[in-house]
Symmetry: C3
Subunit: 321 residues, 3 copies
């Protein structure tokens, strides 16, 4: 592995999940490999889990790490080409190139503008970052993808299903939210989860919330506009809001609180585990009673972020040897 | 020691001061103990000394450390339970639980709202943090306490009194300030200093500045409304402002500049050392001439913050073995 | 070397450039020297390159490092003496003294106010910092100097001239900018480059942009008001804006876009390399086509910031042994 942009950079999802679980049991077993190595993390958008779980993963591998919050620790970055830079202080090209000279792996978080679908879905900015960097780049969330989150999610499902041996119906359910949110967690989840053949996967959302063709094209599972039907007999409920993609890009078209995950709805399931990538708005996305129950595994997902990052760092370090 | 919330978590104050002084002489003698350990620091309020002295203490112990400034590096945290989270992005429960999964010790700084005395003095928020964390928690200043500061203060007094053998009258004096300040440094100092029987301790403040019953209840020393009387024959003058606690919670009731510590007032003392926890507003709290004299030991207090943190980290690491 | 404030703290510029190039080839060869050492970096002004290149340099030397952004991670600092601190929270004296107690080397970035020439050029603030610190101080850019940048620049020129054996005419050219900028990079460059006798150095700028006498006094090279004449036969073009120094301190007196470095102008040179300290505003300071050509060595300059910092850290650590 050189860059880690999406699931496509992983040869075998089963194998990488297994290796992540090995790291969880033996976090320091590859500590020698990080010697004299440095990871740099650049955040164009704020972060809590990604940042700290990556720091912990780097510590586990015995390597150094620096973190930069762009626009807070430094200045405004120009994302477009050919502009006369009257209002921006440094171009993405110089910023990324330079930062990549100060580390062996560069992790970058960007974000969609949610205004121009093509611009976001072409991953214009992240493609530039991949081009500008002199070292391998890791996607810490881009305009349309969040692969480290999905890897952590799959690891968590593996842990709760005896490595996919137990029956495993996963429902991804749209839920309400206050602000228009990106599609990255959802797109990535579809990409990763469909690699695991043992998982019966379905998606449920209000009619106007169809996802982008690029990610749905190869999707062979069911789509329900009726949340209750989808939840029936499910073993995992993955709640996540997203803004409209196809109908009115980046807008909120439904605020129907009936889509919130409640204790009542969880009764339709097969004692399902509740999943969410966090941060989660309580009593908007999901009721307190669900999140506070023993069936919630959101913290386990968050913990597995460490090992998702660590296995990717490790794979890249190994490929550089 | 598991959590470190207040002096009550310390079995023997004399012993911990002695051990801190050993660390000051031999800062790297326990470096092996931090191997494969990570400390996380979370600041809900800004910090300079606490943050950097903890980083230095962690380096001395050979362990890894990450630092997060909430609301700057990340987002708005919901502190209340049961709310529909329309304006906050993540609940304290998820934030603390997750962060505790990424470290072996979690240090947290919170703050009082200075609006609701009971809420602050019940330490509602810090008690939640203690409950949510999966690992030991260290109080880096809470609504009503600042125990690492007090430990550093006691270490400093020990250094200047041949471990409390020399005569040792300590005066805590209220001083003016521009903004309403918390009571944490003062409450903690009372808790810690009264554990050292050799110290003659007294407090002086304007009439309306009585401290909270919880911290005064067991206090057997003198209280003076006349600053000059209190300063007579003192060996240490600890200056600190606090806002009203009992009369009008969180408000400023006195701005009398006569309470500022001056060179003239220091003449009333027994060539006393001047102490302050810093940051200090010059010529409001204390005159330049006092702070710039050889009798000021504020920098020594600040330096001892390293060893106060280090001994607490060490005690907790040892208890986890 | 104890402090590193300017080129005057370096005994032999040739030697330090040679040693930097050795470090570039053998970055980890002095890793033992950083054991149990801590570097602290304090930024009163934002930074990207300086911050991360210093972190990388510290990692290379095996030492610990902490970074503090003043006014972001902490609070407002009082720079003046004798004031009644109504609006500032901590005096520079306490801030610097305390921070210096938490590290073995303190790096500090300040800035000019660009309002009062004497105040800036007397380096009032940095002189205080040097006085207040208990440990060696490194200038990460002060009101009038940026010596780590200049050292990196000289290293870069050495690499492109077989250690100054190849013909080497360097032109420093004023270029347009949107905002009034400090003179620090320019002043430092003059100080350092004139130490290398093999370099033919000249400066070109619009008539009202004379530099400060202090830095021009000993300068024996040519000054051109005609940029084209200066560029003739040059081997390196160093572009940098500065605000007026002598005529109207800190103001912009010329916005003439004809001073921008273009592909056309580069044709006047001896296939010169293009240099800039970054960040650079594209199509204001320099045309895209120049920056994106193979003749641009701005990234190499940025990379050499690592070894410029590392050699200075190393020299100071060695002097402390």
């Amino acid at each position: 592995m050189y860059n880690f942009f999406s699931v496509k950079d992983v040869v075998n999802v089963y194998k990488i999940v297994k290796e992540s679980l090995f790291l969880k049991k033996n976090p320091y077993s590859f500590k020698y490999i990080g010697k004299n190595k440095t990871i740099g993390l650049v955040f164009f958008n704020p972060s809590l889990r990604t940042r700290i779980s990556c720091q912990k993963a780097a510590f586990n591998l015995g390597c150094n790490i620096w973190v930069l919050n762009v626009n807070k620790d430094s200045w405004n970055i120009e994302m477009n080409d050919g502009t006369v830079m009257k209002t921006t202080q440094e171009h993405l090209k110089e910023a990324i190139s330079v930062m990549s000279l100060y580390c062996d792996i560069l992790g970058v978080r960007t974000f969609p503008n949610l205004l121009n679908k093509n611009y976001d879905y072409e991953e214009i900015i992240f493609k530039k970052i991949l081009r500008y960097s002199r070292v391998p780049v890791i996607n810490l969330e881009s305009a349309t993808l969040h692969p480290l989150q999905s890897l952590a999610d799959i690891i968590t499902i593996a842990e709760h299903s005896s490595f996919f041996k137990k029956k495993c119906k996963v429902v991804l359910s749209w839920v309400p939210h206050i602000k228009p949110l990106p599609h990255s967690v959802v797109n990535s989840l579809i990409q990763w989860i469909t690699k695991i053949k043992e998982i019966e996967f379905c998606i449920t959302y209000p009619e106007q919330y169809d996802l982008h063709e690029k990610f749905i094209r190869d999707y062979k599972g069911k789509i329900y506009y009726n949340q209750n039907k989808a939840l029936l007999n499910s073993d995992f409920v993955y709640a996540k809001n997203w803004s409209s993609c196809v109908v009115k890009y980046g807008k909120i078209l439904c605020k129907d609180r009936k889509w919130m995950i409640t204790k009542e709805k969880m009764k339709l399931t097969n004692k399902a585990k509740f999943m969410h990538c966090l941060p989660v708005r309580r009593n908007i996305v999901v009721e307190d009673s669900v999140l506070d129950s023993n069936d919630s595994i959101v913290l386990q997902q968050a913990e597995n972020r460490i090992y998702a990052s660590q296995i990717i760092f490790l794979k890249i370090f190994q490929s550089l040897l």
